[in-house]
Symmetry: C2
Subunit: 267 residues, 2 copies
């Protein structure tokens, strides 16, 4: 029995601190969870865009995962930017070997700025190798379309959620934040319980949304690490990211980051 819940993020580094392992570690920390990280890529990034990115060798990513899971272990883990099909496969291999429970897969493909974060040929590796290991996968609409290989009509989110689970994962949060309307509506579907739920939150008029996806997924991960069941971890994660967006920070000249510190005060 550990003194503190422990979570691992396997993702890219965002120098600007708003997304990537930085957003994940901040979220874990303000939610009272000890954070560890296996870095997959170094991005040269700020609120305006991604200037450069170095994806690490799959062996180095695997070695980081092994080092921390052999020694410390974890109560939950998440994946974010993985970069290449080789890294996707290496991560899936180690996650399976260590029998990681509570894996949250955020299928990061494109940064808020529009910069590509996953090689085009890596989407199929994500589906084939990583999704079957996930407790939950958290695509936004464009990512869901890429995973499924077809467009999703606005009134077909439920079908799409079921279709994503049919790819091999056990649950999905299909994020409608990129759609229109006054509310940001996410669809939660758990194939294990057949539970389906629309989770809505106010949509705030802000440009400071850099790292929103990372923040949501890491808040779900933190709550899973703390022992919540999946439905409640997703609901608490949604509450966390909504508050972080509401308090979004006007830093930099592009999309500023969400406010992890402020959002943590809710919990």
């Amino acid at each position: 029995m550990r003194q503190i819940p422990v979570a691992l993020t396997i993702a890219g580094s965002d120098s600007g601190g708003g997304a990537g392992i930085q957003a994940d570690l901040k979220t874990f920390t303000v939610l009272g969870v000890y954070g560890m990280s296996a870095i997959t890529a170094i991005t040269v990034q700020n609120t305006v865009g991604v200037r450069d990115a170095l994806v690490l060798e799959p062996e180095l990513v695997a070695a980081q995962i092994d080092a921390v899971l052999e020694d410390i272990g974890c109560d939950a883990a998440k994946t974010g930017m993985l970069g290449t099909a080789q890294v996707v496969r290496a991560v899936a291999d180690r996650v399976a070997a260590h029998e990681v429970r509570n894996l949250v897969v955020d299928p990061v493909m494109v940064a808020k700025s529009g910069d590509r974060l996953l090689a085009e040929d890596a989407s199929s590796a994500l589906v084939a190798d990583l999704l079957p290991l996930a407790r939950v996968v958290t695509p936004n609409l464009p990512e869901a379309e890429a995973l499924l290989g077809h467009e999703i009509a606005e009134d077909a989110m439920e079908d799409a959620a079921r279709e994503i689970c049919a790819l091999g994962c056990r649950a999905v949060v299909l994020k409608g934040g990129h759609g229109g309307g006054d509310e940001a509506i996410d669809l939660f579907f758990d194939a294990e319980t057949e539970r389906i739920e629309r989770m809505s939150a106010p949509r705030y008029d802000t440009r400071n949304t850099h790292g929103t996806g990372c923040t949501f997924a890491s808040a779900i991960t933190a709550h899973l690490a703390k022992g919540l069941d999946l439905r409640n971890a997703v609901a608490m994660g949604k509450r966390f990211v909504t508050e972080a967006i509401r308090r979004g920070l006007p830093l930099g000249s592009g999309h500023g980051p969400t406010d992890h510190i402020g959002a943590g005060r809710l919990f």
Copy 2:
């Protein structure tokens, strides 16, 4: 006028989460400071030791610093593991170009596990190029000896502190934690004000001290970013790290990390 103080860490990544940019970002976060990072090296590390380390190209380190300081700026910055003389020089070059105020230089040379984190020939670059840019430098006794090129007797800490400032920096915290006794005594010397002060704290009997140096330096950095003067930033940093050590986490089978989350509750 920013809504939140901002700090930048320029350091290595510790996958285990107890030291490096992970410790720095956690410390910034619990102290209410927005954290950014320029990663210098990827270490494959846990509480037992450093299994592998990839030092990044100096250009990539410089690009991360440029990306965040051109866009967001910072109120304080710190350096940790820099790895090679080339990275030391690149960091010094960019820190000078961006006229970073409140630079805390933690001259990281060796990990708690004994693994070397700075190339042997990099010490002179640290002294020649980086120290003159520092508001304060925070060596422990072995690091101070390496900077000065000679041993420091137990009763000669004050002389050593003055000698380090004579190398070109404006203030030093010479950390006596590696010495003996019931108390962990640090010597603070500010060459600008000629103020000299012994700061003592209880020494706790714990093996969970991984990342202590990073945590102290980042707590000083956070308090400088919040506008404290140097003496008070050091005193508050000492209080933070002492509490983090007192609450040290028994994670892993080696030196567990200090407890940033718990220590943050003091502030």
